[in-house]
């Protein structure tokens, strides 16, 4: 990075460190913080959407929809995360490739499964072998987001359906007494009020999601924990910047990052909870009313 970095072994400590901290590998490590934040920014709303649909489905008056919602939440919550993270992307990837294979190579005569091999024609590969590296990476990232959204959506669905049940029954009865239809009562009365009951559960989920990102490497996405382990491991003189085991320092850095992230989110959730309890028939809402009066 700097001009004096051409012969690292001849440098004094300070310059050596400056060069070391700006190698291509270190830069990739810094970028991976962005990857993690991007993943969180995309996954959280996606998981919330999955959760919301799951919660609505499990409360639905249409029986098959209700079964679907219940099956989704109880299945995903009951199966270990790691199995889901391995299963969802592989199954989805092979499913999509199989569909493309059927559409694009109708005259392929070999079986798709040969022993343990999964074989589709070259045109059906997803992404294509010829696609540039960033396409492969974004595809992997998209699969990772989907896997996270499915798993965390199931937990969110459970939190949200609990929150829907916690809205006082009297509110819905009043809505019906005013002549609102079922769906009107749900959208105008139930949904706006349920968030305050869902918030503690959702904030828990968020904190767990923040810490679950190392699972990313299972899906081939290189996150901060992968890089900390890779960079911190002791390096012999095969590398331009040999150093002993520095994992402690790298993981200390991660510790600070995760603590900062979680304490920031706690503050955001505290504010959100304040906002949402305004005008609610809860103890916190009552307190606001008294303070304002």
């Amino acid at each position: 990075m700097f001009e004096f970095c051409t012969a690292p072994s001849a440098l004094d400590d300070l310059r050596w460190m400056a060069c070391y901290l700006t190698t291509g590998k270190q830069i990739a490590f810094y970028w991976s913080f962005g990857t993690v934040l991007l993943l969180l920014a995309v996954t959280a709303p996606a998981a919330l959407a999955f959760g919301f649909l799951g919660a609505l489905a499990s409360r639905s008056r249409v029986a098959p929809l209700r079964w679907l919602g219940t099956a989704y939440t109880s299945m995903v919550r009951g199966i270990p995360d790691i199995i889901f993270f391995l299963f969802v992307p592989i199954a989805l990837d092979q499913g999509l490739e199989w569909l493309r294979h059927k559409a694009k190579c109708p005259d392929w005569d070999q079986p798709v499964r040969q022993g343990s091999d999964f074989l589709v024609c070259a045109e059906a590969k997803l992404p294509l072998n010829t696609a540039p590296q960033w396409v492969h990476e974004s595809y992997g990232f998209a699969l990772a987001v989907l896997a996270f959204a499915v798993v965390f959506g199931a937990f969110a669905a459970n939190v949200l359906s609990g929150a829907m049940r916690a809205v006082p029954r009297a509110q819905i009865e009043t809505a019906e007494a005013y002549g609102m239809s079922h769906s009107q009562a749900v959208w105008r009365i139930l949904v706006p009020q349920m968030w305050i009951y869902a918030l503690p559960g959702l904030s828990n989920l968020w904190q767990i999601l923040v810490k679950a990102t190392p699972l990313l490497f299972l899906l081939g996405v290189q996150d901060i924990v992968y890089w900390a382990r890779e960079l911190g491991g002791s390096k012999t003189s095969t590398f331009a910047y040999p150093h002993p085991d520095w994992r402690l320092w790298y993981f200390l850095g991660l510790l600070v990052f995760y603590l900062a992230l979680t304490s920031l989110s706690e503050r955001v959730f505290a504010r959100l909870s304040h906002r949402l309890s305004l005008g609610q028939a809860t103890a916190a809402g009552e307190k606001h009313r008294k303070a304002a009066a």
Binding site: A46, S116, D117, F118, L128, Q222, R229, T238, F239, A240
Partner: protein
């Protein structure tokens, strides 16, 4: 957003259809210097990489590198996420049942024990990387096996006292022991495996033929010996 992203990817993937089909994606671990590692410029580097790149040049294939966790490196090959493995993988009968190997591009090499001082390695606590021939050997030798996900962690376990010794390929351990005054080789070397080959799907016979031919020509004209000398100085290049 997610759907949008997936949609864009699908589109771009379809758009690139017309291009040549003979791109071979090669998976490696990137954590086993000098066989394969990620160098300071964030590129894959090492003996495996040099050999496979030369193979690709001779077989007129376009090759691209993918790094993958060691544990899932074979499952990802058979499910088609990449087409070959060049990751210092020893040819063993167990692996040969699931995937195919080219001829060896690294001789059947000794594995060695390294530790802080001389101990009986058949009754000690020995560290090894999970799912390697060394881990299998330790388990069979009567010693207590502790497994680690990466080779580096298995060496770190010896340094911090978690294990008494580590068993790994000698080519990997030599630079580490040379540069660490505390570590020494213990006991006798053990011969494991049938050398290192490029792993391929069993159904990929065409690619196997191409790569085998390229490897044979590299052995003939001395290119292989040159690369061996570059990454493993002092090793007997004759095989």
């Amino acid at each position: 957003m997610k759907k949008l992203l997936l949609g864009t990817v699908l589109l771009t993937a379809t758009a690139g259809m017309a291009a040549a089909q003979d791109v071979v994606r090669i998976g490696t671990e990137g954590a086993y210097p000098p066989y394969n590692f990620i160098n300071d410029a964030n590129e894959v580097d090492g003996y495996d990489i040099d050999v496979a790149n030369e193979v690709c040049a001779r077989a007129e294939l376009t090759c691209e590198w993918v790094t993958n966790d060691w544990d899932s490196i074979i499952p990802n090959l058979v499910s088609g996420n990449y087409d070959a493995i060049a990751a210092g993988m020893s040819i063993t009968d167990e692996r040969d049942e699931v995937i195919d190997f080219t001829q060896a591009y690294y001789p059947p090499d000794p594995s060695a024990y390294a530790g802080l001082d001389e101990i009986d390695v058949t009754s000690a606590v020995v560290a090894a990387q999970a799912a390697t021939i060394q881990a299998t050997h330790v388990a069979e030798s009567g010693a207590t096996l502790v497994e680690f996900a990466t080779p580096d962690e298995s060496v770190a376990a010896v340094r911090n006292g978690e294990a008494d010794a580590v068993l790994a390929d000698k080519g990997f351990l030599v630079p580490i022991v040379e540069e660490d005054p505390d570590l020494v080789f213990i006991g006798e070397d053990v011969m494991l495996g049938k050398g290192i080959g490029i792993g391929l799907r069993e159904s990929d016979t065409e690619l196997k033929e191409k790569m085998d031919a390229a490897l044979a020509s590299m052995k003939e004209d001395g290119k292989m010996a040159e690369l061996l000398e570059k990454w493993f100085p002092g090793m007997d290049p004759d095989f």
